[in-house]
């Protein structure tokens, strides 16, 4: 069984078509145009996004294949990030999941963008920049993180206590929990959500290191 670190890879990771973004309508149109102008297919860029409305113009089986492929990649990314505790994927950087040296295939830039966008649409990821180069992966939704924080608070008897943000992230109590090493952005979002619900209050200190939380669970 192939592995990436300690992450077990599924069999279809070695299936070359898994790394080719299934054709879209524009690809069909592009194919026709290529014929018209006698352009070599290998020169053409096949991977393009099509708006969902135009999905109907692609054949049903192709649509199904495409949906399956997208879904497999989404779950794959989430799974991997969860086990490896990865919170951010940078598109321009090498990401081991996106290429398989054994079969010498890797996802094109467009394909990566497409799959991450699919995650964003599902609410399991967020773009951190306008240029869509950095993606925040929410393998736990913010709501789930909020619940984890509450459980953490209860487990450690901090219902009325105070803690700094840093302590939540890297303190002794958080060791062994999922909170350990959590991405700061995600943590702040979860805390803000809880603040909104009146479960805590965030207060600023003299510097970011002093930022803290007063629980009132």
């Amino acid at each position: 069984m192939q592995k990436l670190g300690d992450f077990k890879l599924p069999q279809f990771f070695n299936y070359p078509p898994y790394f080719t973004y299934s054709p879209a309508l524009s690809a069909v149109v592009a194919h026709a145009l290529a014929h018209y102008f006698n352009v070599l297919h290998s020169e053409m860029n096949w991977v393009e996004d099509i708006p969902p409305q135009l999905n109907l113009l692609v054949s049903r089986p192709v649509r199904d294949t495409r949906e399956k492929q997208v879904q497999l990649w989404k779950d794959f990314i989430l799974d991997y990030c969860k086990t490896q505790h990865i919170f951010v994927i940078e598109l321009e950087e090498e990401f081991p999941l996106f290429s398989n040296p054994v079969i010498e295939r890797s996802l094109s830039h467009e394909a990566r963008k497409a799959f991450l966008s699919a995650l964003v649409t599902e609410g399991r990821a967020e773009w951190l920049d306008k240029g869509h180069r950095k993606c925040l992966i929410l393998w736990h939704r913010i709501q789930d993180w909020a619940d984890i924080i509450l459980r953490f608070v209860k487990d450690n008897g901090l219902e009325d206590g105070v803690m700094t943000i840093e302590e939540i992230r890297s303190g002794i109590e958080s060791r062994g929990t999922e909170l350990h090493g959590i991405d700061r952005t995600i943590l702040m979002r979860a805390l803000k959500l809880l603040e909104h619900k009146g479960k805590l209050a965030i207060f600023k200190g003299t510097s970011t290191d002093d930022e803290g939380v007063k629980f009132s669970v």
Binding site: K8, P10, Q11, F12, N14, Y15, P16, P17, F19, T20, S22, P23, V28, H31, A32, H35, Y36, H41, S42, W46, S59, R60, P61, V62, D64, T65, K68, Q69, Q71, L72, D75, F76, D79, E104, R105
Partner: protein, 466 residues
């Protein structure tokens, strides 16, 4: 009891004086026809021509009648083809094509002049002539009940009969059954470039060039006559202008008013004009209605015949562009336009041709046998793509082309179609464009590590892990 001898040109096969006719129809001699020699017709309804025989004119809905009594066969409403050598009559019912007959012009002893009388204005145009068959003399009347160009037919008939083209060609070539027509410049003979006497043979082209020569000569003559008398020229010019204007009006008014479509009289004469314009080489401004024109019908049939051999060689499917090149190359002169080709293909469904035009999703158009089956091709592709090598490395269009026995471009269309049916998946890489068997349906979406014991997915895993 039969009281006739077989037609003399088929009686003695060893007679070298007579030209041999290529027999291509499966049907035997018509039982109803005891009079005229049988005419060979291809499976698409085109006549098989003799060497050097040139097609000159076609008339539809023609009856052949005779005063000779009840034993004369019923030859009603057929297609009459005037050639330099014969009058060929083909029944319009395609199942009766084996009953086609031909009257060699050489057997016509006399053509009666057609008198214009009050009666003739109301009757269908006709011409009577005397034929000598089996040492009997017979008077035959050709009655044109259709809307053909009778005024063009009649002088041509006289001309061809007087021209005696069969005598000039009887002397020379070693007829090996090759045929030529005026519409197609096809020359498929294997006799080589030289005749027995050492002169260069230009089968096919000779007749066309001769015809053109004659046309030039007659045009030249009439021009000379016109120039002789300037007044005559002026009046002729006025006539021509009026005629041209009338034609233009008629053709254009036909395309604008939809109500005229019901008027058969108008449609008929318009068809005539269109045929005339087409034969002179002028492109008709009314393209919608040219679907009915006789020219396109005959072209369509001819194309259906021609296409058979290249289709077989290409494995049952051939690109339309390739046929365009092959067909025009075979024609030599009188090339057809891409629009004509397309039109000819679309007419195939009207007379049940064994071939059909097909358009792929990608826009590529091919000609394929009607009997072609997509499912059969997909089965073969599936077999190919589940072989161990293909499971590992996939297949390219060239691999498929070799297995299926067709051109790579056609193979690619099949692969893409298979992909759109969900049978295959594409793989694009620096190595090129490849296809694999589609495994996605068998991958479990809830448990991505699950591989069922049976099925393509498990087979693939086994092969790849080996």
């Amino acid at each position: 009891m039969t009281y006739y001898d077989p037609p003399f040109h088929l009686r003695n096969k060893r007679s070298s004086r007579k030209k041999r006719v290529v027999q291509r129809t499966e049907g035997s001699m018509a039982s109803s026809n005891n009079f005229f020699p049988s005419a060979s017709v291809t499976s698409s309804g085109r006549p098989v021509f003799l060497p050097n025989e040139i097609e000159c004119q076609l008339l539809s809905a023609v009856d052949l009648e005779s005063d000779d009594g009840p034993s004369f066969p019923s030859l009603k409403s057929g297609l009459l083809i005037l050639t330099t050598h014969r009058l060929i009559w083909i029944p319009s019912n395609s199942s009766a094509h084996s009953n086609a007959i031909a009257i060699p012009l050489s057997l016509i002893t006399h053509i009666f002049s057609s008198k214009k009388s009050i009666k003739s204005i109301f009757h269908s145009p006709r011409i009577r002539f005397q034929v000598s068959l089996n040492s009997k003399s017979l008077v035959v009347t050709v009655v044109a009940r259709g809307k053909g160009d009778w005024d063009g037919f009649l002088p041509k008939f006289w001309e061809n009969w007087r021209g005696r083209a069969w005598e000039t060609s009887a002397g020379g070539s070693t007829a090996d059954g090759s045929v030529t027509t005026s519409i197609s410049g096809t020359s498929s003979n294997s006799g080589g470039f030289y005749l027995n006497d050492g002169s260069v043979r230009m089968v096919g082209l000779a007749g066309i060039l001769r015809k053109e020569q004659e046309m030039w000569e007659s045009t030249d003559k009439s021009l000379q006559e016109a120039f002789q008398d300037l007044n005559a020229l002026m009046s002729k010019a006025k006539e021509m202008v009026m005629l041209a204007e009338k034609m233009r009006q008629k053709l254009l008014s036909g395309s604008n008013s939809e109500t005229n479509a019901g008027n058969n009289e108008e449609m008929g004469s318009k068809e005539e004009m269109q045929d005339w314009l087409l034969s002179v080489g002028i492109i008709s401004p009314v393209t919608k209605e040219s679907a009915g024109a006789l020219y396109h019908q005959q072209l369509s049939r001819q194309l259906a015949d021609f296409v058979r051999t290249p289709l077989e060689r290409a494995g049952g499917m051939i690109n339309l562009i390739d046929i365009y090149c092959l067909f025009n190359r075979a024609r030599g002169t009188e090339l057809i336009s891409p629009e004509d080709l397309l039109q000819a293909c679309t007419l195939w469904e009207k007379f049940d041709a064994p071939v059909m035009l097909r358009k792929f999703d990608s826009g590529v158009m091919v000609i394929q046998n009607k009997s072609h089956s997509d499912e059969e091709v997909f089965t073969r592709i599936k077999t190919l793509v589940t072989k161990p090598d293909a499971l590992q490395a996939g297949i390219t269009a060239s691999d498929a082309a070799m297995t299926l026995g067709i051109a790579p471009a056609m193979a690619k269309e099949h692969l893409l179609t298979a992909e759109s049916r969900g049978i295959l998946c594409r793989d694009i890489s620096p190595d090129g464009f490849r296809f694999y068997i589609n495994l996605f349906p068998e991958i479990d979406s809830d448990d991505m590590h699950m591989v069922k014991d049976h099925g393509i997915y498990s087979l693939w895993v086994r092969v790849v892990s080996a």
